[in-house]
Amino acid sequence: MPSAFKHTLFIVAPLLAVFAVLPGVYENHLLLFNFVIFLILAQGVNIIYGFTGYLPFGYVGFFGAGAYGFAILVMHYQAPAVIAVLAAGLVGVALGLLLTPLLRLSGAYFAIANLAASLAVLHFVANPALENITRGPYGVSLTGTFNPTLAYSAALAVLALTLGAVVFLKNSGFGLALQAVREDAVSASMAGVNVVRMRVIAWLASALVAGLAGGVYAWYVSVFYPDNVFSGDFSIFAIVFALFGGVATISGPIVGVIILYGIYNLIGFTTPQYFQLIYGLLIMGLVLFLPAGLVSLATRRGWHVP
């Protein structure tokens, strides 16, 4: 059995099935929706960080731009929600194209420049002078398209697409070449790999994923302010979840989201006074003892982790 098929059958399909069934048996739909959103965003971070080594501290920029892309299409063009979600993805890609010069930077320089870029987009969108277009700081209300059930299904579709992309990267020569670029760009070019093109493709793919996620998020919540959809928490959570599980794998970011976002919701609400402490200790422990994520517990033993 080809490994791409195995990964789809044993990881992607069960995960999608569980999240398709859960709303029928569990009442907190918003929580389930947020899980799906973070599964998408953590895999989006996986695409750009796990496969190319660029740490996108401003990843939320694409998410927020997608949310506003959705809102503008619905508010000004009365677009159907599904079309507006697709447009949100394209807005993410457009912002990604605009930011491709950032790929000339590396390491912390890239991370900081990306963070600054996401703040710039936030302040652009929240500018009161653009009230006629974005509603500026006053937020948007999209009652016309409000339909959490459909929005949840759309989120699952985006998750399926994202997981499909990661399965492809994990099992293709293209994904291997991307990892080669991450390991050593000069050697990769000497293997015949067009380094710049590969990086741009991965960057735009992860921008597309975040843009689509922002679109379905806007559809689901319907009412939001710039600070909601450009909140740095989205970037930080997505990065921490992906790193905690282990990047450049399919399962790592999934494990990271389930465990960390699970803990966040368990202790964050019941005993918030301990939450920051436990969370902080977990992340410090990870950085100190498992820098390659939870999956490295298995890979260190020589097991193959998909």
């Binding site: 020569g173 070449a177 080669a180 000069v186 990769a188 070019s189 000497m190």
Partner: protein, 243 residues
């Protein structure tokens, strides 16, 4: 195996500056298919810079490099690989977290070899990497990493191969073995440029050497003749030999 054919690589009057330092200061030479050319000279004489310019990592500040009749000016490294130029690195640079097999697979898939690319199994066998094929490249010793670096280059079927201190750190048995492999590659029609400090190795495998000093050629010919030339002895072998 003295080559009769026209040069495939022409380096003419190439200048490369780093700030005020002239790493290459009007360097000219050529290399023909089937030829093994040695680049020798003291540290800092510009050997590796020459390789970096030919393989597209550095853009020259003057002069021209032509390969197969076409100028290489401004052509990206991966395109040079597709045209048939490849190299190894003084300090090997494998993709550390990928397995040996995956390292080679990238070059086989993206090298766009003009002729049918070599077989993975044959490469692993010929360069003694079969036993470690499924281990991450990070687990390899230095000699194995050098072989992997060479195989990564060969997987793209180069017509010009630049070897930057491939032999350094190999034991005598490995040196003899790799010398035979390099000669066999040249006999197959590959043009090969070897940068090396091991003079015995250079003498054994090259047809001709360029002796470099301060970014310029100071001698061209057989190494056996070079060592008789006072200027070469002075700058290259050191003052104590000149007497």
């Amino acid at each position: 195996m003295s080559p009769e054919s026209a040069p495939i690589l022409n380096v003419s009057n190439v200048v490369k500056r780093f700030g005020g330092f002239h790493a290459l200061d009007g360097l000219s030479f050529h290399c023909a298919p089937g030829e093994i050319l040695g680049l020798v000279g003291p540290n800092g004489s510009g050997k590796t810079t020459a390789i970096n310019v030919i393989s597209g990592l550095y853009a020259p500040d003057g002069g021209e490099v032509t390969f197969d009749g076409a100028s290489l000016g401004g052509v990206a490294s991966h395109r040079l690989v597709h045209r048939g130029i490849n190299r190894t690195f003084q300090i090997p640079k494998p993709f550390l977290s990928l397995t040996v097999r995956q390292n080679i697979a990238v070059a086989l898939a993206y090298g766009r070899a003009a002729v049918a690319p070599p077989e993975m199994a044959a490469l692993l066998d010929e360069y003694r990497l079969a036993d470690v094929a499924d281990r991450p490249a990070a687990d390899l010793n230095n000699a194995q990493q050098k072989m992997l670096d060479l195989v990564r280059a060969l997987a793209t079927r180069p017509r010009l191969l630049l070897l930057d201190e491939l032999a350094a750190g190999l034991n005598p048995a490995e040196l003899d073995w790799i010398a035979e492999r390099i000669k066999a590659l040249a006999q197959g029609g590959m043009a090969i440029i070897v940068v090396e400090h091991l003079m015995g190795f250079i003498e054994h495998i090259t047809d001709r050497v360029i002796v470099m000093n301060a970014g310029k050629e100071i001698f061209e010919g057989k190494l056996a003749v070079a060592v008789q030339v006072p200027q070469v002895i002075e700058v290259f072998l050191g003052g104590e030999h000149a007497a």
